[in-house]
């Protein structure tokens, strides 16, 4: 089919121009900013400092703490999200009468945004726990992280459940029948037949939850905030505060670029694993 240049421009140029202005240009300027020291005020000049901002990052104890905290949080939450997600998916793909009601209820939290979820759970971890004398979890350095794990699991378990359901439904019935004819028990079918066939779903969910957890921001601000002594501050919130609260625009932007690199590495690993597996199948 022959399409003229004019039509080509008319169909693609509007979106491409907006995309360049909103995503590409800020990304490039952002890399530039990370080499300067600047307080964000137009009347103050920015000073070029080379890679110094990137070097400072390794001496910034508050930032290093936030990084370690976010990593620990992410590792724990990825496990709990996928564990609950797969159990939920197995339950709602049985022939139980209540399976559809259960699916509806378990998926619902995902649709409520992280910010609102954080506030909803604040009423549990703060007001409800105080009323039954369990103390306020959100002011405790360890328990506030546990609270974030609970809320994020609550949010994402229903999400990954949907992906696992799709995977389970795609397992051919004859494979399961063959296992049954051969006298496999429920557990044997689960571990020897279903799980190996769910490997593509595992990969997808693992990385979805990994990058989602590492980027946690909304739940962080609504549920705990930075907390006393920044004890609950996560990576994203640290970047936000560095730029918009402390006005270290250049230094904060260097952190933002590091954040991008981490997310990019996680995603690229995922893509290469998914590609390899597709070839293997």
């Amino acid at each position: 089919m022959k399409i003229g240049k004019g039509w080509y421009a008319l169909f693609t140029a509007p979106l491409m121009i907006v995309f360049m202005i909103v995503v590409v240009i800020p990304f490039i300027i952002g890399i530039g900013y990370s080499f300067f020291e600047w307080d964000g005020l137009a009347k103050h000049a920015a000073t070029f400092v080379g890679f110094r901002n990137y070097g400072e990052v390794f001496k910034d104890q508050q930032f290093l703490n936030a990084t370690v905290r976010t990593t620990i949080f992410t590792l724990i939450t990825v496990v709990t999200v996928n564990l609950f997600g797969i159990i939920f998916a197995l339950v709602v793909t049985t022939k139980l009468k209540v399976r559809n009601v259960a699916r509806t209820m378990l998926f619902m939290p995902y649709l409520i945004g992280g910010l609102i979820l954080g506030y909803i759970w604040k009423s549990v971890f703060q007001e409800f726990f105080l009323s039954i004398d369990w103390g306020n979890w959100l002011t405790d350095p360890v328990k506030s992280i546990v609270a974030m794990v609970v809320v994020t699991t609550w949010q994402l378990a229903g999400y990954v459940m949907i992906v696992y359901i799709t995977g389970i439904m795609a397992i051919p019935a004859d494979v399961l029948e063959a296992a049954q004819v051969d006298g496999a028990s429920y557990m044997q079918t689960l571990f020897r037949v279903k799980f190996p066939m769910l490997m593509p779903s595992f990969t997808i969910c693992l990385f979805l939850s990994l990058s989602n957890c590492f980027k946690i921001y909304d739940v962080n601000i609504s549920l705990t905030g930075v907390g006393p002594n920044y004890q609950s501050e996560m990576f994203s919130l640290n970047i936000y505060n560095e730029i918009f609260s402390l006005s270290n625009f250049g230094y904060g932007q260097a952190k933002a670029i590091i954040f991008f690199l981490i997310i990019a590495i996680i995603t690229l690993i995922q893509v290469s694993i998914t590609k390899k597996r597709e070839v293997a199948l």
């Binding site: 952002g30 900013y33 209540v98 649709l111 609102i116 949907i162």
Partner: protein
């Protein structure tokens, strides 16, 4: 399939429902306590309310400026998604049908930038938008149209990516027939191609509703005036500004999740399909 005896089945059904109810306990907590008086709430938070008082609802609605925020959120979500669907489908179709180098490069660029977390570009984006406001006289920050523009840019990557995959799978012969019958490119796209893209359009709509409706960080950076607040922003302001009366706060939370629940119950099938498709392809 496994064989379950009848009593075991009943027990499993009951256990599953019981678990789901406990799972949604936070929702129960905010719902019941929003009707109680302050004293009644702190006496026993788990008990059902003895009377249904709506006083906290009316004060919460007023303090949050709820109906203004609802209107802003609705306009923002609906218009953003409409323009994302229109421009992303046009662009993706053109990329697939005219196989030139530029299309390949632009498509790869769109997909690659999906990796960039918002935090990485938020500060330079705000600088750029302020610059446009100061130097070109087009107010981009603190206006709904400015935010619509930004959502179009951020939604471009995933939109084009999803449409691109689908267009590649539909045969070109119908479009050729339409061209022979005298349709120009514009008509061919809107009369023949766009209706065929409906499954992808549903996926894009669902994924973007979940994203834009709940988005907090981007609107919180641009929309500063009270009149422009969206639901997440006015909720955050509500929790930040007042010494929280928890009954009122819970009433506010119940009100904010009502639109989500209505949307969910009305389009559950599409939502589940859309989320699954988005997760697998994204």
């Amino acid at each position: 399939m496994l064989y379950y005896s009848k009593p075991l089945k009943t027990v499993l059904n009951v256990l599953t429902v019981l678990f789901c109810v406990i799972y949604l306990f936070p929702i129960y907590l905010i719902l019941t306590n929003s009707f109680k008086s302050r004293a009644e709430m702190y006496e026993n938070m788990v008990a059902l309310p003895s009377s249904f008082s709506l006083q906290y609802y009316s004060s919460a609605l007023e303090k949050m400026n709820f109906f203004t925020s609802l209107k802003n959120s609705l306009i923002l979500t609906i218009v953003s998604i409409a323009i994302i669907v229109i421009f992303a489908s046009m662009t993706a179709w053109m990329f697939v049908r005219s196989k030139n180098k530029l299309s390949v490069i632009l498509f790869d660029l769109l997909v690659a930038t999906m990796l960039i977390p918002f935090q990485t570009i938020m500060m330079p984006l705000m600088q750029e938008m302020n610059w446009i406001g100061n130097n070109l006289g087009i107010q981009m920050t603190d206006t709904i149209p400015g935010l619509l523009f930004m959502y179009l840019g951020f939604g471009a990557g995933m939109g084009v990516f999803l449409y691109h995959g689908f267009v590649s799978s539909i045969p070109v012969s119908l479009e050729e027939a339409a061209t022979i019958d005298g349709c120009n490119t514009w008509k061919t796209f809107w009369r023949i191609v766009f209706p065929m893209l409906k499954p992808t359009t549903m996926t894009v709509i669902i994924l973007d509703v979940i994203w834009i409706w709940n988005d907090y960080l981007l609107p919180s950076l641009t929309l500063k005036s009270t009149a422009n607040r969206t639901i997440p922003i006015s909720t955050a302001k509500f929790f930040g500004q007042y010494t929280i009366s928890w009954n009122e706060a819970m009433a506010a939370l119940v009100v904010t999740i009502i639109p989500v629940v209505i949307f969910y119950l009305a389009c559950q099938k599409y939502i589940v399909e859309g989320v699954a498709a988005g997760a697998v392809k994204g």
